[in-house]
Symmetry: C2
Subunit: 280 residues, 2 copies
């Protein structure tokens, strides 16, 4: 059986452990002893420890599941403690700067991953074995990455139920700026705009407002870090959106062009691949 | 039993008929004979007809469930055909201009309503008896409205399962510009911005993007009409949002203020009253 080491038992790390059981021997590292106790009480993974060295020493595959800013320091410890042929990946939401840093530390056996799963909930308590069912995971090799590492990591995510797609780290960051970071910033800005204009308005929300703003319930510090790390692409995405908003406001009194604009949006929205399982 | 006449058997009209059965004797008017056949086949309402006069003649309560632009002409027919003491309401998403028009036609027995229910789906096939369960309905009397009409119409929506709130037509339009019309325009603009910047990005959507853009799947012509009818308030809401977006983009490289901004949004989002039943 393949030895899997998961570094960081949050929503993603915990869900990977649940999805990987029966197929992998799963060891988890947590920074806090309370988290280890929680993992053991929940029966998640085959073993858990605060000692990173013991968790990764015999690992065939190490998955870094900590916030983006905490990755490099842990990657250095993994590089020192793991076998030289252990493959390493991460689940960070921004890839270009991170893959550069982690690749420099870990070499060709590292390849970046971004499972596009999760919810506004966080922490081990929200972990689910089916979090990755039908989710997209983007794998982001660069010039340094060994082909065999890309193949093995892609196979790992496929085994967990993901659809695996491949992009360069830079392409990844441009695309998630559009489909993840921009929507997050928009949702938060929408909530704060309504609050500033008329806080009473929250009493009149329908399901549309709730869905449009759901992601704004996500963890603030984590998202501030993600947005900051991808600031250039996010900034460009926001500028493009503002430009389009300015144009569309001019169509408010022109029924036909506005209908055309909404028809185009509907056609593209209707083509989105919908998940087989409803995600929270 | 109270005689209820529903003018227009779409998602809202059909759902009202389903929610009101057993409690009201329900007659429905549809413009097309095929829609009458569909109503009869589905067993929705006690009777259905394309003859507006026969549908509203004995009504105690008439609910106009047609697009905003079609309301005044039908209201004139209702005024001519219904009893003088029949109460009339509508389900339009914009209230100030509509209540002015309909009040002029129908007098003090008219009071505007806006049930904040529905989904991106449309038509009778999407109608559900529980569409109004725990939904907010805003009732919008003005100076012309008789108090007894407001009370009776509020009671009607309460009987259907709604939480009823009251606003003036103008307050209503300001508030729904923020919590309904702005989110709709944003969702459509987000979809079209992504399409223009990088259509490949749609292949990488997670549940966040799907939820944030769900309302963009709504009927384009209906929404163009709603947005145009409420253009002043929508324009102000968009301007406020753009201003806030411009400010927040400047915080992308400042972790602490961005975290504060997202924390404020999360706190407000987390306080939103969530529905008892998941709405589509």
């Amino acid at each position: 059986m393949i030895n899997l080491a998961i570094v960081g038992p949050g929503l993603l790390g915990g869900s990977i452990a649940l999805a990987a059981r029966h197929r992998y021997r799963v060891a988890l590292w947590a920074r806090r002893a309370e988290a280890v106790t929680e993992l053991e009480a929940a029966g998640i993974g085959d073993r858990a420890s605060t000692d990173l060295r013991s968790v990764v020493a015999d690992a065939d595959l190490v998955v870094l599941c900590v916030p983006v800013g905490a990755m490099p320091a842990l990657a250095r410890e993994v590089a020192a403690a793991a076998r030289g042929d252990a493959l390493v990946t991460d689940v960070g939401s921004v890839k270009a700067p991170l893959c550069e840093q982690l690749g420099a530390i870990l070499g060709g056996r590292f390849v970046g991953s971004h499972p596009m799963a999760g919810s506004e909930q966080t922490g081990l308590a929200a972990a689910r074995a089916d979090l990755f069912a039908d989710a997209v995971t983007i794998v982001t090799p660069d010039a340094r990455t060994e082909l065999s590492a890309t193949a093995a990591i892609s196979g790992f995510w496929t085994a967990l139920g993901c659809r695996v797609l491949q992009l360069s780290p830079g392409e990844h960051d441009e695309i998630v700026a559009l489909v993840s970071h921009l929507p997050h910033l928009l949702a938060a800005t929408l909530v704060n705009t309504v609050a500033a204009k008329n806080a009473q308005a929250f009493d009149f929300c329908g399901p549309g407002f709730r869905d449009t703003t759901r992601v704004a319930g996500g963890p603030p510090a984590m998202w501030a870090e993600i947005l900051g790390t991808n600031r250039d692409a996010v900034g460009r995405a926001v500028e493009a959106l503002i430009e389009n908003l300015r144009e569309i406001v001019r169509l408010l009194d022109r029924d036909r062009p506005m209908t055309d604009f909404l028809t185009l949006a509907k056609a593209q929205r209707d083509r989105l691949r919908l998940p087989k399982t409803p995600h929270a």
